[in-house]
């Protein structure tokens, strides 16, 4: 059960990081 939580958390964190990267890039493009 904890394995599932740990792996899900890792996917979530890396996914959030990629979105964050896109967000930082769009801040520049949006101006």
């Amino acid at each position: 059960m904890l394995d599932v939580l740990a792996i899900a958390l890792l996917f979530l964190l890396f996914g959030a990081c990629l979105l964050y990267l896109r967000g930082c890039a769009s801040l520049k493009g949006g101006r």
């Binding site: 394995d3 890792l10 990081c17 930082c24 890039a25």
Partner: protein, 586 residues
Amino acid sequence: MSLNGWLQIAVFIAAVLVLAKPMGSFMTSVFERRRTFLDPVLVPCERLLYRVTGVNPDEEMNWMQYGVAMLIFSAASLALTYVVQRLQNVLPLNTQHLPGVPADLAFNTAVSFTTNTNWQSYVPETTMSYLTQMLGLATHNFWSAAAGLALAIAFIRGIARREAKTLGNFWVDLTRGTFWVLLPLSVIFAMVLVSQGVVQNLKSYDTVKLLEPQKVTGTDGKTSTVTTQTIAQGPVASQEAIKMLGTNGGGFFNANSAHPFENPTPLTNFLQMLSIFLIPAGLTVTLGQMVGSPKHGWAVLAAMTVLWFAGVFTVFWAEAKGNPQFANVDQHVSMQQAGGNMEGKEVRFGIANSALFATVTTDASCGAVNSMHDSFTPLGGLVPLTNILLGEIVFGGVGAGMYGMLVFVIVAVFIAGLMVGRTPEYLGKKIESYDVQMAMLYLLIFPLIILGLAAIGLRTPAGLAGLANHGPHGLSEVLYAYTSATGNNGSAFAGLSANTHWYNFTLGIAMFAGRFLMIVPMLAIAGNLAAKKITPATAGTFPVTTPLFTVLLTGLIVIVGALTFFPVLSLGPILEHLLLRAGHLF
């Protein structure tokens, strides 16, 4: 404070400053792909690796591609470490027949070593097999340091290049940082460590008979006689070398560099501290050379040295002064005793070398320890905590210290521009709103994670359950844990039982966010700077090569750190110091 202690500290910083130029010049050659004396051996290995992995070394990446490549590499290597830990019971080189690492601890440790933090919620010699130590952990000591180095070089290229869309190739920078810089230094350093008595083998632990059997009372109150002792060993020297050079800090043993098998002599102690600062100090020279302004590199190095001195002076003074509660006890240094506050310190290292080690390991994002920071006086413990809270930019971690410092440089130049009423320029690049937005994002994420998670930890039963001390010292323990994790330092204040579901997951999240959420805006600044034109310097341009710049940069770092963290520090170590003087112990 003894003269002997100050002399050792002076020799240390002199060695760092002397080695900065050759180290920095070598790294410039490596990352600008100029010829080096290692090329005949390493270029064929490099080419073979690119051929096998399908990397085109001539293909350049923009900042987003560079960031995505770094994230993919981190995710893949993190997954490997997680799997190795979970399956170590069925994998080879498990001489002690240790079980698989529990999932929450494996998560925490995998994130910890991937992010160059090396926070250890476990006792290594009773938790990790030799394979896990070597394949799961020591490899990350190379990879995470090489990734940090690559990112710093990408930032420097962003400053140096003009009207460019790209920052280099992450895979090439990662490979060259590992092959040319970290591997050769680690091999040489590991040999030196072995010559001094650091263990390097794959044997099972030895059990020896005690010369003097010991009576021990267990937690259940029962007394028993212990007649044997287990001597843990393993491939220590090979992990120890990169642990220090890569500013990783994760010990092979629980006692870290206080353990005689990790750090047996005064010489190894000196070399371990030197190896922490070697690459970060060299990077200031690399910065100056790559951006075409060597004096700028020296100005940054000067700011780092000033902040380092302030830290080591304070710890040495506080620890040498000793505990005011023991006013009637002789605490003066003499031929018979080290003097001062020796709790949690190795007698063979004494006050000066413990104070210096604590300062160096937290100035950089290393986290190795040769004394227990939890046992320092409140003001002595305040310094390691503050060093991490400043962002570990005083020399800093391999690469991470340099790019962190450069973000502060951007803000310093911006503020200087505001003060004189001109458009801020940094080495001919105009600093615009996007650069400052990203710099502020970088600076604000850090306290947000630390203070947010520490506040939650201090208000929840799960967070408070791990505390060994109450009052301001307990607050310091929780604050230090989240600070160390977010700052990717990895040293522990100790006193906190962190191997719980709560701390394993929340500290794991802090380490992840403290690494990757800060790298992204840093790369965004680098990409934006690279695309800019160079504006010729005029009389109104703020020079970044002068003592005035060094003073402004140092002042800015201290003011940002003080404004952000003084309230919480005043409730922790500062309050503890005042209460200690009033007779209260925690």
